[in-house]
């Protein structure tokens, strides 16, 4: 087989160098794509690292919305959203739901009254095995529109090591530099920490796209609205929300209506800082019925990643840049906390809460 003329020593060297070069280019390309060579590029890992820098690391807990409670129930569809979406969940009838109420922040021991925002995450499991996961907040708009701005907001909120508290001048400077936060700031002025998870409405924040049986696309946002609402604020106890919810559900199921808002042409579907005009068409798609709670340490919601891009046929993501960032960051948080649950080497070890009363 050695029928080619022999190569000179210099030629052999040049050919080895060429092979080395090809391999080095491959390695560099791989490193570049993975973000190893670009330490300033925003990645899911860096977002979650910033959440940890702000709140600390609590092994086994979510890196954000760490304090919460599992709920179970079902969604009772009335069929009215079927015209707009082919998703099985919108055909008349019940779909089982595993949900989770929570408060924002990475500290699972934060007092319930420390923030005016509550959240509700839901996982609908359709009879065909497809799922719809959504993570909603008790406010109609998000403070920022992009992952980069969210990262900068987290940086501005990082506690000052000397005081242990966020530096208000940094937060002020962030808001001054980000006029898109105006609607959120307006909302937060009057927002108070509610006394109950059960009396709040929860908004999808991001827009999504419903796809009907003809493949026609309908941009939407959704929210769940409680049948009974109440504006009272919580007491001084740090953990009133879970106790309140458990007490209420022990008395009977609680109901929310799933309201789907249809966008008009031209309404922003890629900007969670902007509300849509209030005259937009709304559909009451059915009733969310929550029947019981479980603690998040052992309940079914513990091991669910409420990634809002996990969607059934008939619902798709919009062009909102926050959605892929949420998906990526939630996945990173999920891997870290499940690794801690599995006690994998190099992961944080759970410690008992220093603030727990004996």
């Amino acid at each position: 087989m050695h029928d080619s003329p022999p190569l000179s020593g210099r030629n052999v060297l040049a050919r080895f160098a060429l092979i080395g070069l090809v391999l080095i280019v491959m390695v560099l390309a791989f490193g570049y794509v993975s973000g190893w060579l670009t330490p300033h590029r925003l990645t899911a890992q860096r977002l979650v690292n910033q959440l940890q820098a702000n709140a600390g690391v609590f092994a086994g807990y979510r890196r954000n919305h760490a304090k919460g409670v599992c709920v179970a129930g079902y969604f009772d569809s009335n069929g009215q959203a079927q015209v707009y979406s082919d998703a099985l969940v919108f055909t008349p009838g019940r779909t089982p739901v595993v949900g989770r109420f929570a408060i924002p922040g990475g500290n699972p021991y934060a007092p319930d009254g420390s923030v005016p925002i509550r959240s509700l995450a839901l996982r609908f499991t359709q009879a065909n095995g497809q799922q719809w996961r959504t993570g909603m907040n008790s406010m109609p708009v998000f403070p920022v529109a992009t992952p980069q701005a969210f990262y900068e907001l987290l940086q501005a909120q990082q506690p000052d090591p000397s005081t242990g508290k966020p530096d208000s001048t940094k937060i002020g400077a962030f808001f001054a530099a980000h006029p898109e936060t105006a609607a959120f700031r307006e909302w937060v002025k009057t927002a108070k920490p509610s006394a109950s998870y059960a009396t709040e409405s929860y908004w999808s924040l991001n827009a999504f796209v419903l796809v009907d049986a003809n493949g026609e696309k309908h941009p939407v946002r959704w929210r769940v609205v409680p049948e009974t609402s109440d504006t009272s604020t919580g007491g001084s106890d740090a953990d009133y929300l879970e106790a309140d919810l458990t007490r209420r559900l022990a008395q009977g199921p609680r109901h929310w209506h799933l309201i789907v808002t249809l966008a008009n042409p031209g309404d922003p579907t890629d900007d969670a800082t902007k509300t849509w005009p209030s005259d937009r068409r709304e559909i009451d798609a059915g009733t969310l019925v929550l029947t019981g709670t479980e603690t998040q340490e052992s309940g079914e919601c513990r091991d669910i990643n409420y990634d809002p891009t996990v969607l059934p046929h008939g619902i798709e993501i919009s062009g909102d840049p926050l959605l892929p960032a949420r998906s990526a960051a939630y996945a990173t948080s999920y891997l870290r906390r499940t690794s801690e649950e599995a006690h994998l080497p190099g992961t944080a070890v759970a410690t008992s809460n220093p603030e727990t009363k004996p």
């Binding site: 060429l18 791989f30 992952p147 990526a328 599995a342």
Partner: protein, 182 residues
């Protein structure tokens, strides 16, 4: 079927180059999507899952083709160490191209995710829902990907060594051009 003892059969060559493209793309898609927070994350993820299953199916076809059509022998003058490395790396490549999609599928199953190949096609789970198993499988998926990338680099380097330096017909047995047709 006509075949030459110095070349892989046509089916093997087509599968090799098609899967080379798919697997290398897949490695870059994988590392890119886990690091990305932009819209790239969403569409890379949407490609990753069906492409992984396609690789799994083609790997099974390829294994069958290989078992039915043994590859041309390595040059008789190839040092024993290099022969051993060649055989070991090929076993490893086959093992990884089968294992990677299966580990990915099992990992999503263990995490309780619906394994969606498109907006409407869902594969059944192949592993019970278990958070600790998810974490182990997810890390295994990443480490096996690194191992596959390193094995690919070794394979690429060795192929170029055979083609550019030894010029012994090993590279052309897969490209189908040059020495092999003599």
């Amino acid at each position: 079927m006509t075949r030459s003892s110095t070349q892989f059969v046509l089916a093997a060559r087509v599968l090799h180059w098609l899967m080379a493209l798919m697997i290398v793309s897949m490695l870059f898609i994988g590392v890119g999507m886990v690091a990305s927070v932009s819209e790239r994350h969403a569409w890379l993820l949407a490609i990753h899952k069906p492409l992984g299953i396609a690789i799994l199916m083609l790997a099974i076809v390829r294994l069958t083709v290989r078992l039915r059509n043994p590859p041309p022998p390595l040059p008789t003058d190839l040092p024993a160490v290099q022969k051993l490395a060649a055989h070991a790396s090929h076993y490893l490549l086959y093992a990884l191209m089968l294992a990677m999609p299966l580990v990915g599928w099992a990992m999503l199953s263990a995490g309780g995710y619906p394994v969606m190949l498109s907006h409407s096609v869902r594969l059944p789970p192949i592993f019970p829902v278990n958070a600790a198993a998810f974490a182990i499988l997810r890390h295994a998926h990443a480490w096996l990907a690194i191992l596959l990338f390193l094995t690919f680099l070794a394979h690429l380097g060795a192929a170029l060594y055979h083609g550019l330096i030894r010029r012994d017909g090993v590279l052309s047995s897969m490209t189908g051009i040059g020495h092999g047709t003599e």
